[in-house]
Symmetry: C2
Subunit: 222 residues, 2 copies
Amino acid sequence: MRERRPVMMRPYEKDPAAIYARSFATVRAEARLERFDGATEALVVRLIHACGMVEIADRIAHSPGAVQAGMAALRAGAPILCDCEAVASGVIARNLPAGNAVICTLNAPRVPDMAAHLGTTRSAAATELWAPNLEGAVVAIGNAPTALFHLLEGIEKGWPAPAVILGFPVGFVGAAESKAELAADPRGAQFVTLRGRRGGSAMASAAVNALASGLAVTEPDR
Amino acid sequence: MRERRPVMMRPYEKDPAAIYARSFATVRAEARLERFDGATEALVVRLIHACGMVEIADRIAHSPGAVQAGMAALRAGAPILCDCEAVASGVIARNLPAGNAVICTLNAPRVPDMAAHLGTTRSAAATELWAPNLEGAVVAIGNAPTALFHLLEGIEKGWPAPAVILGFPVGFVGAAESKAELAADPRGAQFVTLRGRRGGSAMASAAVNALASGLAVTEPDR
């Protein structure tokens, strides 16, 4: 432990509204957003805001009506299916337009046995429990590539298609591949994804929050 | 909605242990880790694994004994103080060595009034409620720069120093500045941080999980 010495810390912004305004202004000034329509642009701004990287704008892939479909689904009361608790906890519940259920099945007691039986990860097995809620749902994947792969296989086998897949698995094994697969064939779902290794629960939550807010800049959560 | 057509998806890795092994091998092959001691290297590998970016290794700053101090604190039963629920939910509770408490005060009912009274964000105000648990604690900040700034100011005013500050606030306003302040003067705490705009709850959780696992590669959580 070092001895404490008096420090003069530089002043910093403490006003939540000002923080949000300056953040979004910085993102809009630095990111290449020209190729997006207005609703999608607003979602991309929030994705960038969640990760601090303006350059991800160049790696976003999406189906043309994804944002509109996701907003309509939420307004119609669709549940939000998340691959991990961190995504679920990042969803700003008070902004959801219809008290939408936020569901994460990863820690359901049956999942470890299901994973062993299916010969896959717990995250993939957990998507099997989405089936009753999947039709027209908003899916937010922010961790496991195998969850996205397994969902796509499930839809292939006849599971109902969600309204939109917000696909942001992260990492070095399967993340880029699963997102490329989603973009190449979303199996009848709308989608938004970030190509490559980057992703994560904060981006997946931010995508849901952007849909939920109707894509206006809403109350800060800081 | 497009018509479904049969697709042959390429095979993908489904074995959790193999996914982890290949992930960590990729990180170690690609990231510049030479400047870290063994324990810190293992933590940095987990940070990279959480975000999919090997290049962040070059922007990590830490005090020399940070990892050892964090591990010792957890083993001694220290609580983990998180600035948002997403960080808390990313902590793998079953790996904590002493049933350590994972505490997030952001949504405590008093916090909005405290924030208004203090003229700051809810995230900053929430750190005021850490004080009784702060001495020797593990602090994990993965969202709000103002939480890190306010904590540093608090320690400056006489709050007890935590054992280690895992500082990963993210974004465009204050994130780089608050982490630079932490690295320039950690006020008697050990610290690990990522310079610049990048950060996030997944990194903050990963840092805690790395400490908790004793920095060995443990059971996959996918």
